[in-house]
Symmetry: C2
Subunit: 417 residues, 2 copies
């Protein structure tokens, strides 16, 4: 196969994207995937469901790239025009993929909502990717544009359909066309801000050669990406030395060198030590529990816990002494400690983490402003640890920062850092 995908443009199809009704998480996902495949993306385009504009966008993308990736507009409804436009461009007839439509019919036996007699349609000769979560399959076609070979990849719009499809079948398929490959390694930090982290590696940032580094931050971590572009044949991996350098500079802040987010690192650590955990959440109100439960298999270490959103619940569910709440208040060291120890006693877990604070926008006082959060960790047979934090930003920001700060506190305690 002579076709090589060096450059790509991604076209996101959907009027709802132009109207700002949905946040396009596909852009983020697709960009990262293509970067890791060594396919350079120079442009994203978002267009509505208008066939003329869509065709124009595809043509202009084909003129400058080997590969055009399109998401959205593949459904059974009349405003789904992506396949039509692409088939016309490629000069291929649209045919019904029997395997796919049979699969759909078997999955939705009582499905009267759509006439599947002529759905889904894919360009003749296209490589078809199965959709395990929905009805619209993905497909990949080659076409000649001004005498040079190009390709178009069509994927469904819903991230929960597109992402599994991409991981399962599209990515392995695209890898066969990638001209050179990238090594990407990720050093993940918690407990240091993005600008502080940048200061600490300014010299490295300013002297990048074959190996490049790029820090980026979210509420959940600071990640430093270490990348090297390998030409065909040349296989020397130069990233290790730099990763070790970063590990040294950031010490205990490094919670992972690799792909795992903090919650997964924590769960793996708990499983390895055969420890169970429970949570007593006030201001975070179930976010810590829910975040860990997002991870498949978390039930091995995660027992559960209580969400106590007012004083009475802290008394009823966690047995916090009324005088603690009346004297020190619900957002205090004694309250956090009592919550964690009460949770430990009532659940029988090996570890209990408690959160109590002011997420805002209301509820702040001069003594305890919005963003103040106490986090305590109680451990079977050990003394309870409690820390006070102040997180900037809005309600979601304060709660998310609190949850991950609690996870990191626990990680450091378990590792004796």
């Amino acid at each position: 196969m002579s076709f090589r995908a060096d450059s790509a443009e991604v076209i996101f199809v959907g009027i709802e994207l132009l109207l700002g009704q949905t946040l396009d998480s596909n852009a983020c996902f697709m960009s990262r995937q293509l970067a890791e495949l060594g396919i350079s993306t120079y442009r994203h385009t978002v267009v509505g469901d208008n066939p003329q504009r869509l065709e124009k966008a595809v043509r202009s993308a084909l003129a400058e790239n080997d590969l055009v990736v399109m998401t959205g507009g593949l459904g059974p409804t009349s405003d789904d025009v992506t396949a039509e436009v692409v088939a016309a461009l490629a000069g291929l007839p649209l045919i019904k993929d029997k395997a796919v439509s049979d699969a759909i019919r078997s999955r939705y036996p009582d499905r009267s909502r759509h006439d599947f007699s002529s759905y889904p349609l894919v360009p003749q000769g296209a490589v078809v990717f199965k959709n395990e979560r929905g009805t619209a399959p993905g497909s990949f076609v080659f076409l000649l544009e001004h005498g040079s070979q190009k390709a178009i990849l069509m994927l469904p719009g819903p991230p929960d359909e597109m992402e599994p499809m991409f991981h399962a079948s599209v990515r392995p398929f695209l890898e066969t066309f990638s001209h050179h490959r990238f090594i990407h390694r990720y050093v993940r930090l918690f407990g240091i801000g993005e600008s502080k982290a940048e200061e600490r590696i300014r010299d490295l940032l300013e002297n990048q050669k074959e190996v490049t580094i790029a820090p980026y931050a979210s509420m959940k971590e600071v990640v430093i990406r270490v990348s090297q572009r390998l030409k065909e044949g040349d296989g020397t991996d130069l990233t290790h030395a730099l990763v070790e350098e970063l590990r040294e500079r950031f010490g205990a802040c490094v919670f992972e060198i690799g792909p795992r987010p903090l919650e997964l690192v924590l769960l793996d650590l708990l499983a390895e030590k055969h420890l169970t955990i429970a949570f007593a959440e006030s201001c975070t109100a179930g976010m810590a529990l829910s975040t860990l439960a997002d991870v498949p298999g978390s039930s091995a270490s995660l027992l559960g816990g209580m969400v106590t959103y007012n004083d009475e619940m802290k008394r009823r569910l966690l047995g916090v002494a009324p005088q603690i709440l009346s004297s020190a208040g619900a957002v205090s060291c004694p309250a956090a400690v009592a919550m964690a120890e009460g949770c430990l006693a009532k659940t029988g877990a090996d570890l209990a983490l408690s959160f109590t604070g002011i997420a805002g926008p209301g509820g702040g006082t001069p003594k305890t402003p919005v963003g103040t959060v106490w986090i305590a960790c109680a451990r079977e047979g050990e003394s309870t640890v409690a820390n006070k934090y102040h997180f900037p930003g809005d309600r979601i920001h304060v709660r998310t920062r609190a949850v991950y700060t609690g996870f990191d506190l626990l990680r450091r305690l378990l590792l004796g850092l």
Copy 2:
């Protein structure tokens, strides 16, 4: 002022967007703002910091639109090239905006990181918008393209700088150029799938005139947008009749006509009826609690609850009888009922909602496959209601669908639907 902004293209500048390191929330924000201003957006483009590609993107955007909105690439570092490219295109010299740089210096007296002697630079004669949160100002320039008047608006990339600037000064400024405005109204549904909903309004979808309608779906709702474009002078709102038609066709599935998501509708309903609520969550593991707690002021109705991730916790925290768990199992009608009633008793809430199911990927059986969820609602002095559901998709999908299905079940019970 003869200039009218009927159509716009938005160009997002930043290599980090192409590498998928940041989710571009600006796209969502800007699209909605322009739509509300009655400025049609036909395309979004994301480009890196490369001057040639950026110039090309701006030229192609100018060729087809009155207005080009650019975000990002305005900082003091060398890879911030937006102002340069635009000034060159407009044939305007870049000059230093003294007012702005003085403001910066007074705000960052000890700022040694950057040399502000020649920063920020803006095209001569540009309308400059103050940045209250950062250093890069926004700016707006007119230019002639093929004899017709066009305009370019440059805004900083960070949302926490751009959005306040837009609300404070950019939007009022743009309103003076907007040719006509839109009315957008939203009919929000739960309890019906997107395709079923489309089937039910196919006739309306196929006969759209001045008032257009567009359905779109997420895990949390199906929303039907009803839009009307008002020409200058003409102020008759034709959307009401259509909204009423939709209300009739979808009946109990309509939970909101307006902007409120289901969780907010539920919380408002609870507050209005002076009812408190608590949750007993197994497979959803705190997601229901956390989702309600995301809403400021939710503590008025939300007391808290328990997350019981295994049988022992269901016994310990909710008092579920061991024989229920051993005979019927944890994912069963009796277990869901016992969890809800146990939660009601232990929290003293007026209402308690319980979730128990198999989120997957593991844990499924032929009798109880992955996606099976029991949801029960216990009410003070009334008999407990329990329903069995089966949700498709992965772990996150199953848990999210379960949470919103529980919210909707409660809404319908409270309204007697």
